[in-house]
Amino acid sequence: MLGLTWLRGLAARRRGRLLATAAGIAVAVGVLASIGSFLSASKATMTRRSIADVSVDWQVEAQPGFDPTVVLDRVRRAAGVRAALPVGFATTTGFEASAGGTIQTTGPGVVIGLPDGYRAAFPAVFRDLTGARAGVLVAQQTAANLHAAPGDTVTIGRAGMAPVLVRVDGVVDVPQADSFFQNVGAPVGAQPPAPPDNVLVMPADQWHAQFDPLGAQRPDLVHTQVHARLGHQLASDPSAAYAAVSGRARNLEVRLAGAGLVGDNLAATLGAARSDALYAQMLFLFLGLPGAVLAGMLTATVAGVGAERRRREQSLLRARGATTTQLVRLGVLEAAVVGLVGAAAGLRLARLVGRLAFGTGAFGATTGAAIGWASGAAVAGLAIAAATVAVPAWRDAREITVVAGRRSVGRATRRPRWARLGLDVWLLLASGVVFWLTGRGGYKLVLAPEGVPTISVSYWAFAGPALLWSGAALLAWRLADLVLGRGRGLIRRSVRPLAGNLCGTVAASMSRQRRLLARALVLVTLTASFALSTAVFNSTYRQQADVDARLTNGADVTVIESPGARVGPAGAARLAKVAGVEHVEPIQHRFAYVGADLQDLYGVRPASIVAATKLQDAYFVGGTARKLISTLSARPDSILVSAETVHDFQLRPGDRLMLRLQDARTKQLRDVVFHYAGVAKEFPTAPRDSFLVANADYVARTTGSDDVGSFLVDTGGASPQAVAGRIRAVVGAEAKVIDIRTSRRIIGSSLTSVDLAGLTKVELGFALVLAAAATGLVLALGLTERRRMFVIAGALGARSRQLGAFIWAEAAFVALGGLLTGAIAGWALAVMLVKVLAGVFDPPPSTLAVPWPYLGSFVAVALVAVVVAAYGTLTAIRRPAIALVRDL
């Protein structure tokens, strides 16, 4: 009964405070639920996208001496298997074809026998390029090597047996050749370095007719795999999906009892995604939690404004016979009401944010995840309500000297215990030590060893930024306290332009309210550092994702000529005419032997390559991009090599390097002399391991061919996808056209492909809300707490300008001081976050990206909130003074 009366009274007379407290809780719940739902949804996306890219889930290799049909039967009966078909693999001595009066031959190759229905069951294994979809199909590279086209005849060499003649029906591409031609059961390091160059596919019946005899004679050259497709109704979390899939594979191996080995492509893909998922989880911890903590602190500040009034009310109730238990119950009741209202509002807010940022209002990918995140965020909201409303009420109700409560204005004689102990300095030192330990070589935040179900996360790394954030907050408090306490002269001089002869009084007032002002400044510091670090991190992430995509794709749009196609640099002119194309840069692609090692060689035009492909200095060692590329121009036989090559061959600048390249005229390898000029770590379209960069003219001169491997197209801001479409219409099936956005989605990591755009929007949006609250609301509340002071000054005759001097001086100190300390702390935090979360960056950033427009908006929002709060306070105290004098 007392509780209901109390609540009615609160709702009628303390509505503003209750709503403000509930709003703070709503923001905290909103942050947690929004980011949680992003995390859950992105994990599900990672799982979905990674398994969508797998063309064959399991490749089960029948072991010598065991009947493949038994293996097939057991695979078909394994849990979760939707389709399973046997595939024959036969190694040939080579292929031969005659075209245009010349005979082309290849080295050893592989002939695959596909059963009926295979293309339907595993549609992503082969991509049709030309000719029929069934019959004898030749891989693109093989067709190029043999100069073969549909209708041509190819001879297949069989070891120790007569060759076989087949008629080519079509040409195909094997997009995932690496996994398709894997050595099943072999560890990662023992896998073949590259898939076979020469591949031919034929129907199973035909294959058995040609290669069963070979298998009888040479069983080492013929083997059978069972390819299986599994149901993809997996857990949305990549880790859980990985555990389930790899568990099934191990179970099958046990059931096979040695008859077959399982190549678990699905688990291998999920294994890569699970570390990305953990990185996403880390991002939540590093970037999401601070927002919720901030919202909790703001709630505590709002709730704290009513503390004195509550103490008075408690004293009155106690004087009328209320017991401590009853007083505590009232506090708990108030906390429950604001907690529930705040949690409900926060969940609605998160739904709205989810719709705007992620296009969905659900809190997770599954019902379980949705319930988990929504209830978890709501519980956090209730906990904040309990901590900020119920606990202070309980503490006050138990304290005998209620009046003595916390005093924020007056003679601050003794610094808090943490300040006397130098806790801020210790925290910053500890943060530095943790950062140093985690920054040393060999550190990995997420460790997901291939094939091991469990993955480890170095949660310890979280301590570095957390300690820095806490230490910076306490240090900001100490500095504010120091400046206001000992630097009164400085404050007086600083506010003189604003306050005139009142500057001494304003400085004295600020000095004696330094605990209040320091508290407000700390909140601004924390908010600014949160916003800055999050914004810089996200911006740097976006920058690196673009660099990654650009490195992989080479340009906005890349046109890759088919192997064997004879297109010279003049081909660029045709592409340059396409609408939206600003510049076309031809790149030669050859293979060159460096000793026994076959490496990719890229021939570039030194005059235009730097500008055309936005080469970054970070791609090179030993000079800037411009300088090293200009070396290729000054001395055409210069060459840039990988660091590994430099190490292996002990190269020094200027050293002679003999490469073997194919001569286009003789088709034979010939020695070509180059001179080592520098190290290339990365290069557009180049593989991540060893490659070479040389002058295209020199390569053309020495090999007798200026054939271009690819054209890098700069769209100059036009939509890469649209331009790619138009280019496809021009080049047809002759060349492969990839735009940077598609490339980013296909070949980026799961984390890149999920894209942090949604998370960024949520975090940065909430940071703006928190900025407004931390500056405007906290300042307004602080000024409201001291309304008595301004009213008295008004009654004594202070003019608006003079009252404004007090208010603007405090506002400026809190806002500018907080933004300055927040900027310093935020920058340090951003550096630390980028270092600690280095695993999410590919390639690692050489510089941080600063999102100036966002930071400008943040400062603007904070300053506008301050101006609104200060102006609002001034307007309130400009009311007819009598009304306020009566309020005293």
Partner: protein, 227 residues
Amino acid sequence: MTAEVLVRCGGVARTFGAGPGAVVAVRGVSCEILAHQLVAVTGPSGSGKSTLLHLFAGLDEPTAGHVSWPGIGTRTELRPGPVAVVLQGPSLIAPLDVVENVALPLVLGGASQHEADAVARGALARLGLEALAAKLPEELSGGQAQRVAVARALAGRPRLILADEPTGQLDHVNGAIVVDALLEAARHLDAALVVTTHDVLVADRLPERWRMLDGRLDTRDTRRCSA
């Protein structure tokens, strides 16, 4: 010689709110406060004493009639300067020490901090409060705080001191000390003093008494006594 009129009220009324719930705090008051006049305005709680004092001080505006300050100036020229107000409750500014509080009206009036501090210390010394100069309001008793408020009124060298229930929250002993301080200030400055009070003992200390009842002021009920 006729005494100078500091405040003149003609048919002044002050109504709070509107409609049936409106409260008429002051109705049809006409009076004059002369230079050097010492007057107590008495009456029960809610009779309109404080509202009338606020009208005298220019803190409030009448809803009917008019208030003027012939011997002082316009409404905007009253504070800080010729009119000083001592408010009912604690009226010292918490983050300023006693000297800074007393000096504040002078600084607000344009004096330098140095000059204002010197005058403030003189005012405190006159009321025997110099020992409190460096203390903060929270370190003062209620009586000390109210005497400091009187010193603040004294420091501005006003011609009219308006004290609204200055002893309302004090015991009789401290109340008497505060009234002594007010009378000393008025005598020292040769200023007029108007004190609202419902305390007969306080009213008896002033030579003239006006009575307020239900918003109406009765200035005829005067009773001469020595201050």
